[in-house]
C-alpha cells in the first residue's frame, strides 16, 4: 500500500469533504440543463426547481402540419442516466404517425440509438423534428402513418381536425391549439 500512498502525495492535495453527495446522474443533468440552447419554439417547465430529474417540455412547431399547436412532453431522468436515455412521454392524445394514443414516442435516440454522449438538448431537438418531419416509415399510429403516405391532403385535414379536439376514425383527440 505504501506505493499508492506515495503516488497520492505527488498529487496536489485536494480537500474533499464528506457531505451529502450529488449523484453522477444529477451532475450530468445539471450540466446538460445549464448548457441547453433551445430555439424559441421550445420551453421547459419544472414543477419543482429543486427536482431537475423530472420536468416538462412544450414544443410549438412554427411550420409544417402541426403549426399552431402546443405539444407537451414529460421527461423523467433515472439514476442510470446517461447510460440509459431519459424516459419521454407525450402528455396529450395526439394524431401523429410516430406517437401512439398512450403518448409513447417513436424516436430512435430515445431507444435503440441512444448513446451516453447524447445530451438532453439532442433529445429535445429530436422531438421537435418529429413535428416538422413526421416519419411514416416508423409508425406507432398506423392509421396516421398510412394516411400520410396514401393521401397527404387528407392527412393534413385530419391533423388540423384532431388538433382542434376533433375525432379521426372514431378516436377523439386532445385540443392542442395555442389559445
Amino acid at each position: 500500500m505504501l506505493k499508492i500512498w506515495s503516488m497520492k502525495e505527488k498529487q496536489a492535495a485536494e480537500g474533499g469533504s464528506a457531505k451529502k453527495k450529488v449523484t453522477a446522474a444529477q451532475l450530468r443533468v445539471q450540466k446538460d440543463l445549464s448548457e441547453l440552447s433551445l430555439p424559441s419554439t421550445m420551453k421547459t417547465h419544472f414543477p419543482s426547481a429543486e427536482d431537475i430529474m423530472n420536468f416538462e417540455l412544450t414544443v410549438r412547431p412554427d411550420e409544417g402540419f402541426y403549426q399552431g399547436g402546443e405539444f407537451r412532453f414529460s421527461f423523467y431522468v433515472n439514476p442510470n442516466f446517461p447510460h440509459e436515455p431519459p424516459k419521454v412521454k407525450c402528455l396529450q392524445k395526439v394524431y401523429h404517425p410516430n406517437i401512439d394514443l398512450e403518448g409513447n414516442v417513436c424516436l430512435n435516440i430515445l431507444r435503440e440509438d441512444w448513446k451516453p454522449v447524447l445530451s438532453l438538448n439532442a433529445v429535445m431537438i429530436g422531438l421537435q423534428y418529429l413535428f416538422l418531419e413526421p416519419n411514416a416509415s416508423d409508425p406507432l399510429n398506423k392509421d396516421a402513418a398510412h394516411q400520410m403516405t396514401a393521401n397527404r391532403e387528407e392527412f393534413k385535414r385530419n391533423v388540423k381536425h384532431s388538433m382542434a379536439g376533433g375525432s379521426v376514425a372514431g378516436e377523439r383527440f386532445d385540443c392542442v391549439l395555442i389559445k
Binding site: 500500500m1 505504501l2 506505493k3 499508492i4 500512498w5 506515495s6 503516488m7 497520492k8 502525495e9 498529487q11 492535495a13 485536494e14 480537500g15 474533499g16 469533504s17 464528506a18 457531505k19 451529502k20 453527495k21 450529488v22 449523484t23 453522477a24 446522474a25 444529477q26 451532475l27 450530468r28 445539471q30 450540466k31 440543463l33 445549464s34 448548457e35 441547453l36 420551453k43 421547459t44 417547465h45 419544472f46 426547481a49 429543486e50 431537475i52 439514476p79 442510470n80 447510460h83 440509459e84 410516430n98 401512439d100 398512450e102 409513447n104 417513436c106 430512435n108 430515445l110 431507444r111 435503440e112 441512444w114 448513446k115 451516453p116 454522449v117 416508423d138 409508425p139 406507432l140 398506423k142
Partner: protein
C-alpha cells in the same frame, strides 16, 4: 437430484477438514518473504507483510456469483479481516454457481450466509456481513477499509461506490481507497484497478459499456419478428394501458401477466420461443451468468487486490478485458482518465466567505477567481437548485435566491458548479466565517 447434491455437500466439510492437515497454511509466504525478478523496487520482503495483510480491513461489495468467488479467494490468500455487503436474499436459481449457499439457505441474506460459511471453513478468517444497500452506509463506514473489491452486476451501484470513493479522497494518504472492480456479462468480463483521483475511474469509462439491447418502438408496435419484440410489446406498451403502477419484475403475478400477453401476441404473428424465463430475462435485462467467467474475473480481481495490498509485484495498470465467446482472449490496457469526467475530473475549490455573503456575492467571487474562469455558472447542492443560469424557466424560479445568504442556503452541503468554461463541473466547499 437435490438429494444427491445435499449428500455431496454435507460430505464436503469432512473432506476438507482432513485436507487442511496437509496443506501448508503459509503458501503465500514465499511470495511475500523473498524477492524475485518481478518484485517491485520498493518492496521489502518480510514476514511483516503477512501480518500487515492479515490486519488490513478489506471490503467486498456483492455476495452473488462474483462475490462468492471473491470471498473464497481473499480468504485463501492471507486476508483475514473481510467485510461483505449485499442487499439480496438467496434464490434457488443462485445455487448452481453461488457455491457458498445450500438449498436450506434459500430466503436468507446472501451476506450473512456467505460470511458464516467462510468463517466456519477457513480458520483465522473473520468475515463481517452487512445486509443492505451500499447507499445505506455513510462515509465513516467506507473510511475504515484499506481496499474495496467489487463484484456487482448493477451499473448504478458501481457508479455510486466509485463516486463515493473518489469523494473520500482527502489530504491524508489513507483516504485513498483503491477500488478493484470485477464485472461479467455472459462469456465476457473485465477487471480493473481504480486508484480514485489518480487513475481513470468507473465513470470515465461509462461510454465503453455495452448498451442495453433495445428495439425500435415501431418494430415492437407493428412488425415483431423475435420473441423479445413480443415481450417488450407486452411490458412497454400493453402494461401501462392496463395498470396505473409499474410492473414489479420480481413479482410472479406481474411477470406472468406480461408473459401471457407476449405469448398471445407471438402466436398471432407466428413467432416461437416466448417462455416465462425469457420474459423475466428480457424485462430484467438479465444476461445469463456463466460460472467460469465469474471464476476467471474473480481470480484476476483478487490477484490484483493481493498485489495492491502487499506491493510484492506491480499491479494491473489498469484494465483487463476478458472474452471467452469464441476462444479465450484477454487484452490489458491503460484506460485514460477523462479530463471532463463528471466524477474524477472535477476540481475542488474551497472558499471562505464572511457571514454577510449573498449567493450573488458568491457567484461574483467565482467569476473573479482566476482558477475557475466561469462566466455564467449554475449552482446546485444534492437536494436544492441554488441558482440555475439556464434554462430560462429555472433561472426565473431560482433568481430569488440571489439575495439570500449563502450560509442559510447551503448549510452543510457541498455545491456543484457547472459552466461552459469548466471541463465538467466544480465542487465548491463554502466555509462561512
Amino acid at each position: 437430484m437435490h438429494e444427491l447434491h445435499d449428500q455431496i455437500w454435507t460430505s464436503l466439510p469432512n473432506l476438507f477438514s482432513t485436507m487442511t492437515a496437509v496443506r501448508n497454511p503459509y503458501s503465500i509466504s514465499p511470495v511475500l518473504t523473498t524477492s524475485g525478478p518481478f518484485s517491485d523496487e520498493e518492496f521489502a520482503p518480510s514476514p511483516d507483510v503477512i501480518t500487515a495483510l492479515a490486519d488490513m480491513s478489506i471490503l467486498v461489495i456483492g455476495a452473488g456469483g462474483l462475490g462468492c468467488e471473491i470471498l473464497k479467494n481473499l480468504a485463501l490468500s492471507g486476508f483475514k479481516k473481510i467485510h461483505v455487503i449485499d442487499m439480496d436474499t438467496i434464490d434457488i436459481s443462485n445455487l448452481n454457481r453461488q457455491f457458498l449457499f445450500r438449498p436450506s439457505d434459500v430466503g436468507k441474506p446472501k451476506s450473512e450466509v456467505a460470511a458464516e460459511f467462510i468463517n466456519r471453513r477457513v480458520a483465522g478468517v473473520h468475515v463481517t456481513p452487512h445486509f443492505g444497500k451500499i447507499q445505506d452506509f455513510d462515509n465513516d463506514f467506507y473510511m475504515q477499509f484499506t481496499l474495496v473489491v467489487c463484484g456487482l452486476d448493477s451499473i448504478e451501484a458501481r457508479r455510486w461506490i466509485n463516486a463515493t470513493l473518489v469523494g473520500l479522497v482527502g489530504d491524508s494518504p489513507e483516504t485513498l481507497k483503491p477500488l478493484i472492480d470485477g464485472g461479467t456479462e455472459g462469456f465476457k468480463g473485465q477487471s480493473r484497478v481504480i486508484l480514485p483521483t489518480i487513475t481513470s475511474c468507473y465513470e470515465c469509462s461509462l461510454d465503453m459499456l455495452t448498451p442495453q439491447t433495445t428495439f425500435p418502438m415501431c418494430t415492437i408496435a407493428n412488425t415483431p419478428r423475435l420473441p423479445e419484440h413480443c415481450i417488450e410489446w407486452a411490458s412497454v406498451l400493453e402494461w401501462p394501458k392496463h395498470f396505473d403502477r409499474k410492473a414489479d419484475n420480481d413479482d410472479v403475478e406481474d411477470v406472468t401477466w406480461i408473459f401471457e400477453q407476449a405469448r398471445a401476441r407471438a402466436e398471432q404473428f407466428g413467432i416461437e420461443g416466448v417462455t416465462y424465463q425469457l420474459t423475466q430475462g428480457v424485462i430484467k435485462n438479465i444476461i445469463p451468468a456463466i460460472a467460469s467467467t465469474n471464476a476467471i474475473i474473480a481470480a484476476s480481481s483478487c490477484n490484483e487486490a493481493f498485489k495492491v495490498a502487499t506491493t510484492c509485484v506491480p499491479f494491473l495498470n489498469n484494465y483487463m478485458m476478458y472474452s471467452g465467446n469464441n476462444s479465450v482472449y484477454t487484452y490489458t490496457f491503460q484506460h485514460q482518465k477523462r479530463p471532463d469526467c463528471p466524477v474524477c475530473g472535477v476540481q475542488v475549490l474551497r472558499l471562505a466567505v464572511p457571514k454577510s455573503t449573498t449567493l450573488e456575492n458568491l457567484i461574483e467571487r467565482l467569476k473573479e477567481n482566476p482558477a475557475t474562469k466561469v462566466k455564467n455558472p449554475s449552482l446546485r447542492t444534492a437536494s436544492k437548485s441554488l441558482y440555475m443560469a439556464s434554462p430560462k424557466e429555472l433561472e426565473e424560479m431560482t433568481r430569488g435566491n440571489l439575495v439570500k445568504l449563502v450560509g442559510e442556503l447551503v448549510g452543510e452541503e457541498e455545491v456543484t458548479v457547472t459552466d461552459e468554461a469548466l471541463p465538467f463541473s466544480l465542487r465548491l466547499v463554502v466555509d462561512v466565517e
